[in-house]
């Protein structure tokens, strides 16, 4: 006999959770315009957090590395992008959409390049000596996060930095009573593009096949003739670059950033990875959307619970599914 779980599985299963949360919030909020604004804000936040967390999920799943320093790449991405945007402020304020987009693209490219280079350095110098030793991984990557905060403090100073946005992403789209910030729509679109790219790489290429196999059984991948240590470096660099792009987008979203950004985002990023299930890009997207939507809805409905909302969400999901919503390994 078909169970309720089987029936739900056939129509989408856990993938429907963000929809269920949105529907429940619609009932509780009542006002459609507020709900729509909060939903887009939640989706935008979710997509940016997805960018930050997707790399960590793969690093966790494939390399079995607990990298508490991952959010340092988010910070550096944000500050590097902010510096590029500040240097190109003339282009940002210009009436030309081309110059606006070029400035933004260069800022994202700079953050991504920094993430790639920093990821390579981080894996070589900090992670490599502590493979297979979780306790040392936690200690050394926490230490690296603290050091990175101090580097940011030394380079950019302790004063919060205002991040200019490109002219073409300023303002809001008005649809009836609903006002949606254009930057948020852009964040959602960029997140979707990143997800689609990752999905294609992981599911349609040989490298992706190796990554998925490595998440399940590293040893067997090596026994089939592949040097997984070389794959580790590639995945680590890509994950770091994605985190830096997420940080760059977050900087534009918040418009004010401080050196504490990395530490603040670390908790959210880990919650997303744990909720989604280790090593799964689909799970990470699901977790990020749930975290984004829940944070926005709860912030509106019960502001005093806003800070705890993600923790409560994680507790509920882990009680229900101890391995997360869509873990890469069954």
């Amino acid at each position: 006999m078909e169970t309720i779980t089987d029936k739900l599985g056939r129509i989408g299963g856990v993938n429907l959770l963000p929809v269920a949360v949105a529907v429940a919030a619609f009932v509780l909020i009542g006002a459609p315009s507020s709900w729509a604004t909060l939903t887009v804000a939640g989706l935008a936040m979710g997509m940016m957090v997805f960018l930050m967390a997707s790399g960590l999920s793969l690093i966790f799943g494939l390399m079995d590395v607990l990298n508490f320093g991952h959010s340092a790449f988010v910070s550096f991405g944000a500050f590097v992008a902010a510096s590029v945007l500040a240097a190109l402020s003339g282009w940002l304020g210009a009436d030309s959409v081309f110059l606006n987009a070029l400035a933004l693209s260069l800022a994202i490219l700079a953050a991504m390049s920094f993430g790639l280079a920093a990821g390579w350095f981080f894996e070589r110098v900090i992670i490599r000596p502590v493979y297979h030793d979780h306790l040392r991984q936690i200690l050394i990557t926490m230490g690296a996060l603290i050091v990175s905060e101090q580097i940011i403090l030394a380079v950019w100073g302790g004063t919060p930095i205002t991040v200019p946005r490109p002219q073409f992403l300023e303002g809001a789209l008005i649809l009836g009573d609903v006002s949606i910030e254009i930057y948020r729509i852009f964040a959602v679109l960029l997140g979707l593009v990143a997800f689609a790219g990752l999905y294609v790489v992981l599911n349609r290429t040989r490298i992706g096949l190796l990554v998925r196999a490595g998440v399940e059984n590293r040893e067997m991948v090596e026994a089939l003739g592949y040097r997984i240590d070389r794959l580790f470096i590639g995945v680590f660099m890509a994950g770091s670059a994605l985190a830096a792009v997420g940080g760059a987008m977050w900087a534009g979203y918040e418009t004010l950033i401080t050196p504490a950004l990395g530490g603040e985002m670390m908790i959210v990023v880990f919650i997303v990875v744990i909720i989604g299930g280790l090593g799964s890009i689909e799970g990470t997207l699901l977790g990020a959307l749930l975290v984004g939507l829940t944070a926005n809805y709860v912030g509106f409905l019960a502001p005093k619970l806003a800070l705890a909302s993600n923790m409560i969400l994680m507790m509920i999901i882990l009680i229900w599914r101890p391995n997360g919503l869509r873990p890469a390994v069954k």
Partner: protein, 234 residues
């Protein structure tokens, strides 16, 4: 001529010395069986040959080349396939993807694939299914198919009959006989009757040491020796 020569191999796992002195030669062709009681060091021997555990002194030569210092992936690329005790199947990948990963260039040799379909028809039937959904026997077939999808000189197989139904074990024996026509199999097996039915040569490991080696036919005929080394009375 021997395809594999293991000399004075020792392996420590953590602070425990598991292999003390493993020395044996695997002749080219046929099925060479490593026998021994539980915990004797048979699995560790295979893993040490593949460098999945780090053996300390001693040497491993494959087709005359010293592979002792090579990385696991480089050993595999020399032409040694490994089928671990837990089969090492990638459950979230399809049957096809599991096999693609074992090919050198991501493409199948049609003749080899046809041969695999003939040996293990279930794999063709479940070609696009995720491997976790296969039965235990089908998973074992996939693990063996993965080892022979490319030409290999030596295939290390660890306890392939464990937990399988008798009909699957019989099919596996037929498959091994056919595979051993073109590659040498180094088999770890607890089931002596199965080992005897397909083995050409054998060695017995006891407490991390090779205590006996020779032709399987001779060992199968010597009940007293079997009883002494394996506690078998049959």
């Amino acid at each position: 001529m021997s395809v594999l020569t293991v000399t004075a191999m020792k392996t420590d796992i953590g602070k425990y010395a598991v292999l003390h002195d493993i020395t044996f030669e695997v002749p080219e062709g046929g099925v060479f069986v490593l026998l021994g009681r539980n915990g004797a060091g048979k699995t560790t021997t295979l893993r040490s040959i593949m460098k999945l555990w780090q053996p300390t002194p001693g040497s491993v030569r494959f087709q005359g080349e010293d592979i002792t210092g090579l990385h696991t992936a480089d050993i595999a690329r020399r032409g040694i396939a490994y089928v671990p005790e837990n089969m090492g199947i990638f459950g979230r990948l399809t049957v096809e993807e599991n096999l693609v990963l074992a090919t050198a260039k991501g493409k199948f040799d049609p003749a080899r694939l046809k041969n695999i379909y003939a040996l293990f028809p279930a794999l063709e039937k479940f070609w696009t299914k995720q491997a976790w959904s296969l039965s235990g026997g089908q998973k074992q077939m996939l693990a063996v198919a993965r080892a022979i999808i490319e030409p290999r000189a030596l295939i290390l197989i660890d306890e392939p009959t464990k937990g399988l139904a008798p009909s699957i074990v019989a099919a596996m024996a037929d498959a091994f006989r056919e595979i051993s026509q073109s590659a040498t199999i180094l088999l770890v097996e607890q089931n002596f009757h199965f080992a005897r039915s397909i083995g050409s040569n054998m060695a017995v490991i006891e407490d991390g040491r090779v205590v006996h080696s020779g032709a399987m036919a001779d060992f199968a005929a010597d009940k007293a020796l079997q009883n002494k080394l394996l506690s078998l009375s049959a």
